[in-house]
Amino acid sequence: MIDSQILERHGIKPDEYDRILQFLGREPNLTELGLFSVMWSEHCSYKSSRVHLKTLPTEGPQVLQGPGENAGAVDIGGGLAAVFKIESHNHPSFIEPYQGAATGVGGIIRDIFTMGARPIALLNSLRFGALDRPGTPRLVEGVVAGIAGYGNSMGIPTVGGEITFDPAYAGNPLVNVFCLGIAKASDIIKGVASGVGNAVYYVGAKTGRDGIHGATMASSEFDERSAEKRPAVQVGDPFMEKLLLEACLEVMKTDALVGIQDMGAAGLTCSTTEMGSRGGAGIEIDLSLVPQRESGMTPYEIMLSESQERMLLVVKPGREAEVERIFDKWDLHAVAIGRVTSDGMLRVKDHGQVVAEVPAGALTDQAPLYRRPMTPPDYLSDVRHLDLDNLPVGRTFSGPADGLLALLGSPTIASKRWVYRQYDHMVRTNTINLPGMGAGVVRLKGTERALAMSLDGNGRFGYLNPYQGAMLAVAESARNVACTGARPLAATNCLNFGNPERPSIMWQIARAVEGMGAACRALGVPITGGNVSLYNETDGTAIYPTTVIGVVGLLDHADRVVGSRFREAGDVIVLLGEGTGELGGGEYLNLVYDLVRGAPPALDLARERALQALVVALAGERLIRSASDCSEGGLAVTVAECSFDTGGIGAEWSIEPVTVARDPQVNLAAMLFGESASRIVVSAAVDAVSSVLKRAAAAGVPARVIGRTGGDRLRIAAGGTIVIDVSVEEAERVWSTAIERYFKKKVA
């Protein structure tokens, strides 16, 4: 008997329940209600975001697969496709950092090989509270170890990512993971079920009571004991997944499959209904055939279990034995649990007894769709104002050099080596641009080509202006890719926001999607997929609206890849683009004045596109030796970083004066640390400089020689006088030790 209490515990609103009654023409039983509750959940149905996501540009000649499948795919030439997607595992990682992050990696890897692609690279984007707050280091340690534990074991290199620290994420850390794989374009497999009578196979880990979320309590009504036996935490088994990966890729080579889909969120329920409705077919399974880890599991539990490392396959008639043989080789046992039907129903039996019967489409395509009310948040009118002539008393420095060192030592800017040295970033021997060198780049063996990829997103910018913040995220991610010499091809995205039922949050989501779409259109990088994570709030305070963008780009000549670090002393440093001393929302204001205020940097998308095209061309013609995107901490931090990990190649350069305030110190800070967008610092051999400047002029991109590499110091002049003069060694020590400092004497 379904009462309002049960509905509430299943997160089903009264009007949604009426909808269910209409679809069924009767009362659902508890198992059926469970199916609706997970499939109509925000996570699976995108009911709040879908109407907005539909506005995103998803097409282009390079796009082989847009949103809607397990992952997107783009043409990378030579008959090959790059298959990639991003996924969030924010909540699980907060509950259990190691397993939450590990199973997040496992999930995104499955999304990629489900498409028939061999995963070849991983990235991750992480957000935590302030690192100097108790608890944060332990959380970071667990998440990083979890990502490493799973990815390393799978033999997929983690070639890059980003990690930033801000109190806004203290109660809701973000763990977004990205995976990219390679497939023959002609061999991409979809998650469809079709062909009436075809066998539906289950393969992988046994089903346990893992991760039966909010619905847990509700179902405990009819099974008190099972309730406390049921952990919300799922434990990852990378070894099982490695076997699944190899076995599935081997099976896919045989073309014996109609379709295949991983069991991610909502497990069996999601995979059966999604495959059925994609193929316009029905599916009938018998739960007594499902391999089970624990005894006495109810149909409800089996259908909603989120046990990891499981796949669902539909096999062509007559090919069953062949498929079973391959899985046996890998000590995996594929079992037929049902068949494809013609009636479009998801029919769940238990020992022949029907225990649930629901139209597959009702759970997927016809899930509720909301145009939730939106209003701009109240805080905006206030934080918009930034009066640089009346700044509060901030941290005082003995001089600009100390300001630079303080920025280099702030965890968000400091070296992330402590993190990425825990990731195997070299396995598969393809990584030609290592973590810490800008975008990750992997060569494609057997071709001339390589792929570059980067994840970016600035929560503070999103907070101050979600539309602008999302545009800047797209621009920065594509810029990072372009800096390696790769042509940006397409993007994936992860929307991390608060509770969409609050109009102010819904407004942020809508604006962010608009901004993302505008930037993707202008820069020619269509969205091929992504993920939405909502309800990232604690006690009514939401995280910064955080749009994380992952751009993938193609290098025609792997041997022309460009890194972000200086290569030779005596090279000329050229700034492409120009800064206007924008401090709004930047690291400097935050660090010195504890201010998150003002307008994010302006962005001219046409200029941005020209800049990216230019740097790709310069790299392709071997005219530049290094290229580094200019973002957090501005020009001074960017140039300093170009000197690090080089064995101490210094730089002597000068900045253009800007006037943004009366106080000359503020103006100086704006020149050094302002975060104006669309800027790239390149270094070139002396004899290449004139060509670089000519190309820039022809492309209509402002370019200016700002100095020279060499020496063992960082020397910065403004208006003819030296304003900063520190040894590379000292600056690099501050930068490279800032993060590991927090982890000394901590337990792994």
Binding site: A145, G149, S153, F239, M426, D559
Partner: protein, 236 residues
């Protein structure tokens, strides 16, 4: 020459070893599944890196029972050259084909980075063309490379000149700072008494092309070609 690359469930550097042997060295290579028997007439056997059986329980603990290990053992007893890289080294230790055992890195963390190792001995099939004292730059990628053996065993290894690689700094000096995982006597690799079985934690197959940051690992794979050509290995 023909390389056999053994594939255990969970191996993940098998393709890298295969690529180094074929694409870089221009030799033949065959993958051999751990349940198969016979080495398909290979001249040299590589146990690649990875996480055989997930590295559950202990690294290499379960792989040592794989059927193929009988053939590897027999091949080695006939003097055939066997190279264990990272997880392959750990498997050789668990199988008792090399002495000692691995503990967690002293920092407890998985470490992936370039290190320097010094070639201590050149009279093995895998160091023949290296110079004694030569410093090689190669990446490590492991969480359990902290080599342990009882003092008397270490003494015997020293006496028999079985320590083949030691972690050092770029100048070839052994120091605590240049020992990434706490290995006893800074041991990065060693050989058996017959000297035809070599195991090391660093990844030579990841250091065979300058685009990957180093080509120093080449000499290890080229050595085995030399030694086979020279027929230096009786019975092999």
């Amino acid at each position: 020459m023909k390389f056999a690359v053994i594939v255990f469930p969970g191996s993940n550097c098998d393709e890298d070893a295969y690529y180094a042997a074929t694409a870089v060295l221009g030799q033949q290579a065959e993958y051999i599944w751990h349940k198969d028997t016979g080495l398909k007439g290979a001249d040299v056997v590589i146990l690649p890196g990875g996480f055989a059986h997930g590295d559950y329980l202990r690294t290499g603990a379960m792989a040592r029972f794989s059927p193929i290990m009988h053939d590897v053992r027999a091949f080695a007893e006939r003097g055939g050259p066997v190279l264990g890289i990272c997880n392959g080294f750990q498997i050789l230790l668990e199988a008792g084909l090399l002495p000692g055992a691995m503990l967690r890195n002293r920092g407890l963390k998985f470490l992936c980075e370039q290190v320097h190792v010094r070639v201590e001995q050149t009279d093995t099939p895998f160091t023949l063309t290296c110079r004694r004292g030569q410093v090689l730059r190669m990446p490590i990628a492991h969480g359990e490379g902290n080599y342990f053996a009882e003092p008397d065993v270490i003494a015997r290894l020293e006496a028999n000149r079985q320590i083949i690689f030691r972690y050092t700094d770029a100048a070839g000096e052994v120091s605590d700072a240049s020992n990434p995982n706490g290995s006893a006597s800074a041991i990065a690799g060693l050989c058996n008494e017959a000297r035809n079985i070599v195991g090391l934690m660093p990844h030579p197959e990841r250091a065979c092309e300058s685009v990957l940051g180093s080509a120093d690992g080449l000499c290890i794979l080229e050595s085995v070609l030399q030694s086979l050509k020279a027929g230096a290995l009786a019975g092999a």
